[in-house]
Point group: C2
Chain length 175, copies 2
């Protein structure tokens, strides 16, 4: 399995799914008569990130994964978003960066040494960084964003979470 | 990157992490003077799975991924758990099945045709099944289980979620 394939198309799609959940959040707020930005400050526990920071963290986890695994520089996003539109723009910019990376950029990524800013004396192998750190963090923040919306009555469902899948007609059984 | 490596060690570790969150849930319930099973019926939205079903779904997503990608039969777990101990046993049994699979069992798994029970006429490539279906579903249920505990005041934190990582001392810079 290619690390590029596991990383770029899937995380880009998930960030686009997340943006679509925000569309549903805006529609739900309008239908129920409150400002959609109320949801951006919602959180599931007093000492956990609110929706805005969950979205920023999901976008950054994906962006830095793309940058570190390819050796490219990540674009800077200073976490200043205060509206749904700004968060959708943040997600779009992150997806554009990710989709700009190529399979060629990921050559050798699985064995590349990755150093995390909060563990400056340690290294981890690219594939381990991706499996043990990027994916759990990425899905953690995406799922928590989804859960905050669900908990606040936005009608997102599992299909919105998963999004499209690459399917083909089943092969005929061997006769 | 090997699909075995992305699947078996990481999902097994996450299920073990989940079991450790249940230890914290039991301790928290005892300290606060309520039955730990109260938490098993907690949910974040009225039309979303409760904690018990989130745990069963996380365990099954991992178990069926291991089975489908290796072509082995998954053990049957009939979703009858009603206590924390039973859920921990379910997680343990799932991890034992997963850790019993080998890299050799996963030979060709990335290109294996996978057919999902709810899409009986369609196939998906093993790697796509894993990236587009297994991982988002697996982390969805694990994160939602974690969020239910967090929302109910159990002191789980991000380190409990991520668990251990394979690290090594950073290479010396080239001189």
């Amino acid at each position: 399995m290619s690390l590029y394939e596991a990383c770029i198309p899937q995380m880009s799609k998930m960030l686009e799914n997340l943006s679509a959940w925000l569309d549903k959040a805006a529609a739900s707020a309008e239908a129920r008569g409150f400002e959609p930005e109320v949801l951006l400050n919602a959180r599931l526990a007093p000492d956990q990130f609110n929706l805005t920071r969950q979205i920023q963290a999901a976008a950054d986890t994906a962006k830095f994964a793309g940058a570190r695994l390819s050796g490219k520089e990540a674009p800077s996003h200073p976490d200043t978003e205060t509206t749904l539109d700004e968060l959708r723009a943040r997600l779009k910019a992150s997806v554009e960066f990710l989709r700009g990376l190529t399979a060629e950029d990921f050559k050798g990524a699985a064995d590349r040494e990755i150093v995390l800013p909060f563990l400056p004396d340690m290294g981890t192998r690219g594939a381990d960084y991706f499996n043990e750190f990027v994916l759990p963090n990425f899905y953690f923040h995406a799922t928590t964003a989804y859960a905050i919306l669900r908990h606040n009555g936005v009608d997102v469902g599992k299909r919105d979470f998963i999004g499209g899948m690459k399917l083909f007609p089943k092969s005929a059984p061997a006769s």
